[in-house]
């Protein structure tokens, strides 16, 4: 099977989707001739022509608004917001329009739009190239929120998202684009070539939305993670020797609560890790659900390890990022609780 980086897997997902369905169109800032600032769409314009893959004026509301109109016509747009940090001008179109068409019109109009955005820190991008805004989407009914953690899932989930009849926010942890990153920023960079999930079928396949996966079985504690933090959690389990069960949520909305509850009932402990700011982050929802559904199985409070309640700073990037040191400390404390 071919080996792909996450960028290649994402590109391949769009490629096979465009091949497979003429109604799939791809656009965004610098997405056309140049192929995107992360090169995710490289070659698509050359292959499918200027009217199926093109550059747009820098207006995120325009990108999403136009995509909604196209979707109402019958196309399946897959658009890129250059960084998740720049989705805010499109927030109205995303949350009040894309998410609402089906409900508002009783199914008369629908919105099969996929909105891709690079997310998360780890590249010294400062406050406006590092954000993880997933919780601003999980509060919005009508949206679906996907965060892949590896090339295989990225391709399969992106194809499933493009196919999906409703809008999908597809968050791409940019620090994973070129290799699995476990938070040890001072160690040499590793590539996807050596990782089992860097093996990705060249052809069309899907990974279903709404299904989590256990990345590392364990018995001592359940760690709920997604995106980059999956790798941090796995590494921390190995390093601390704590037998954590690491769950990669993959889809945050709708959530695979069943897998989560089964695990926590087994381990009796739960930790949630994410890069986004703590307060009202998605970890809050996870903690609320877990205590609701596993209350009588919990041996200790659910712990959240997350980005601090500050903007993502530039120089203090690794103080902000919830890396293996912080996760490890929290895990050890939890096991003592």
């Amino acid at each position: 099977m071919p080996r792909m980086t996450m960028i290649e897997a994402i590109r391949s997902a769009m490629d096979v989707s465009m091949e497979h369905d003429d109604d799939v169109v791809v656009f965004g800032e610098d997405v056309g001739y140049f192929g995107g600032v992360f090169r995710s769409t490289q070659g698509l314009q050359q292959k499918y022509g200027k009217t199926r893959c093109f550059d747009v004026p820098i207006n995120e509301s325009g990108i999403v608004g136009a995509a909604i109109g196209m979707a109402a016509y019958g196309l399946k747009p897959c658009v890129e917001i250059q960084f998740a940090d720049y989705m805010y001008p499109a927030y109205d179109q995303l949350t009040q329009e894309a998410a609402r068409l089906r409900y508002r019109s009783n199914g008369d109009f629908t919105c099969p739009v996929t909105i891709r955005m690079p997310t998360g820190g780890g590249i010294f991008g400062g406050q406006t190239h590092s954000q993880s805004p997933e919780a601003l989407f999980t509060h919005v009914c009508g949206l679906q929120v996907v965060v892949p953690s590896n090339p295989y899932d990225a391709k399969g989930l992106l194809i499933a998202s493009i196919e999906n009849p409703d809008p999908v926010i597809f968050l791409e942890p940019k620090r994973l684009y070129n290799g699995p990153f476990d938070g040890h920023h001072d160690k040499p960079v590793t590539s996807w070539a050596a990782h089992p999930l860097g093996e990705v079928p060249a052809e069309y396949f899907t990974v279903p939305l709404g299904k989590a996966v256990v990345r590392r079985p364990g018995s001592a504690v359940t760690v709920l993670a997604y995106g980059t933090m999956v790798h941090v959690a796995e590494a921390t389990a190995e390093e601390t020797g704590i037998d954590a069960e690491v769950i990669d949520l993959r889809t945050l909305l709708p959530l695979d609560l069943e897998t989560i509850v089964a695990s926590v009932k087994k381990t009796g402990r739960c930790m949630v890790v994410h890069e986004a700011t703590l307060t009202s982050g998605f970890g809050a929802e996870l903690a609320a659900l877990v205590q609701e559904h596993c209350f009588y199985h919990l041996e200790a409070p659910i712990v959240r390890v997350a980005g601090w309640d500050t903007p993502y700073p530039h120089a203090q990037e690794w103080d902000y990022f919830p890396g293996p040191a912080r996760v490890g400390r929290a895990l050890r404390e939890m096991m003592e609780a």
Binding site: T51, N59, G65, G69, Y73, G74, R102, N106, T110
Partner: protein, 412 residues
Amino acid sequence: MTDNITGRLSLHVPEPEVRPGGKPDFSNVTIPEAGSVRRPEVDEDPEQMRDLAFSIIRVLNRQGEAVGPWAGSLTNDELMEGLRHMMLLRVFDQRMLMAQRQGKTSFYMQHLGEEAVSCAFRKALVQGDMNFPTYRQAGLLIAGGYPMVDMMNEIYSNDADPLKGRQLPVLYSSKEYGFFTISGNLATQYIQAVGWAMASAIKNDTKIAAGWIGDGATAESDFHAALVFASTYRAPVILNVVNNQWAISTFQGIARGGSGTFAARGLGFGLPSLRVDGNDYLAVHAVAKWAAERARRNIGPTLIEYVTYRVGAHSTSDDPSAYRPKEESEAWPLGDPVIRLKNHLIQVGAWSEERHVQMEAEIRDTVVAAQKEAEKHGTLHSGGRPSMRDMFEGVYAEMPPHLKRQRQQAGV
């Protein structure tokens, strides 16, 4: 120009000419003579049409005659049908306003004075084209033949409501009738119209789109998004601005600022930008047809400003006497669209006062019958209503587990 004598700055805040208690004054509104504005070819260079953004295209003169280069886009039969549509819309409005006052629904928004805009525009489109309307273009449905009883069902949120009670009254939706689901949020749909038109072009289709926005809402940022995208991709879209002089209590000068007109906004994008007498059914139709031809021939988008006047309150929650003189609508220099079209038809010998009175009665009966029919299905607070189950449906194509759980919890 305010010059600065003191060397100190000061803030300019525009104000309407008159406020309640004052005498209505439209002397600042220049009304060119009917027939006086030229009609360029649809493929003329937009840079050569800048004058059209600062004038008003008019067809009907004071005598009720259709004059000038924009006349003649419709037959007398078509005009009689148009008159009927406007009268239907007006009576529909009256009945629904009354229904709201009677507590049969929560809210209503009327079209009084603006009927020509949406009714005449609709006749320039064909089946398959798509409108992205605001809440004040029900004429698109009525002139498009949409069943009035379904409009009423929506307003009553009753058990026959095509939208299952989910939407506020008047926020209709009908794909079949080329009427996109209305959003409560202003301006969002202007750029969606452009996207829809782009899709039609991408698919080498023949269908065109029309975006709708009010004078006040042109200030919203999505207006810009729409103009940028339409201009760049030459989308087959007609961008309509209905300037009815008011945005709730705010006069159009606040949104317009220093530009002479709303049509002028198109000039910075190289778009043909036309201003038209919105109370002149013939002029509206002719200009809409011109723009539709431009779009359909793939020449590009057109911006049209309809100059009209919101005679009624903004909505049933509004009372305009608090911010404008009560008699202002009577002073409005472009008259009433129904009366003007009626007079034209009488003038050309196709109509008479008697037939008009007859038609008024017939229309009243039609609307009342539809209302009776709708009320059989219930009104907002009585009779049949959409169920709690309907509330949980349609958030997604397939109901996800958490919503199923909630529905169960709700016991339905």
